[in-house]
């Protein structure tokens, strides 16, 4: 899954280690998520959104789910 974590992090002048400490995960996890090698769980994705004060969908780009039509009602 593509994401804008690296950009958001750079805007705040945070290192991967800083972000890892704020989210209580390892620096390796932040690195893997930024590179798109690991998709975070929903709770961790919400933590990112809260920390950067932006909606989840503006951080993570679900390219695989674009073909799914929303159900009516």
């Amino acid at each position: 899954m593509k994401n804008r974590l690296k950009v958001l992090r750079a805007e705040r002048d945070w290192t991967q280690a800083d972000l890892a400490e704020k989210l209580e995960v390892s620096r390796q996890t932040i690195n893997a998520i930024e590179k798109g090698k690991y998709d975070p769980s929903l709770p961790l994705a919400f933590k990112f959104a809260r920390l950067f004060a932006v909606p989840i969908e503006s951080i993570f780009d679900d390219e695989m789910g674009r073909d799914i039509e929303p159900s009516p009602g």
Binding site: V25, S26, R27, Q28, T29, N31, A32, K37, P40
Partner: protein
């Protein structure tokens, strides 16, 4: 080569996780030593029921402590490292079951000697380590 070495040494894990991992490793070494000492003693001496019971109790208690320490270690890991650990455990269990069942066919037909359970433990441990290294390299 350096990345494999780093993956093997758990480089970059938070201090809390390293402490938990070291506790598990220490208990694993004690557990293996208690098994080794018990086996050696029974090989060379005729042990009394009391010594056999003591060896059994000590080995089992260390094993239980190791299982609880590993559970705590897994519980406190961050989600990616936990996934790596669980994937490695699944690989180790799968490889061991398949190897044991395949070997048992050959052993029952007299082609290979009866399998020593220590080999299974060693196979499981080595596959687990290979799984950890492979997982850490995959996500690095």
């Amino acid at each position: 080569m350096k990345s494999i070495f780093n993956a093997l040494c758990s480089k970059g894990l938070p201090t809390r996780d390293l402490k938990n991992a070291n506790r598990v490793n220490l208990l694993a070494v004690l557990w293996a030593l208690s098994l080794l000492i018990g086996s050696l003693l029974s090989q060379y001496y005729s042990l009394s029921a009391l010594v056999i019971s003591l060896a059994f109790i000590i080995h089992t208690l260390i094993g239980i402590a190791m299982a609880f320490a590993f559970k705590r270690f897994l519980g406190q890991l961050d989600e990616m490292e936990r996934k790596i650990q669980l994937d490695a455990l699944a690989l180790a269990v799968g490889v061991t079951i398949i190897s044991f069942s395949s070997y048992s066919i050959l052993a029952k037909n007299g082609i290979l000697p009866e399998l020593n359970s220590a080999y299974l433990i060693a196979l499981m441990a080595l596959t687990y380590i290979a799984g950890i290294v492979s997982g850490r390299l995959r996500y690095s």
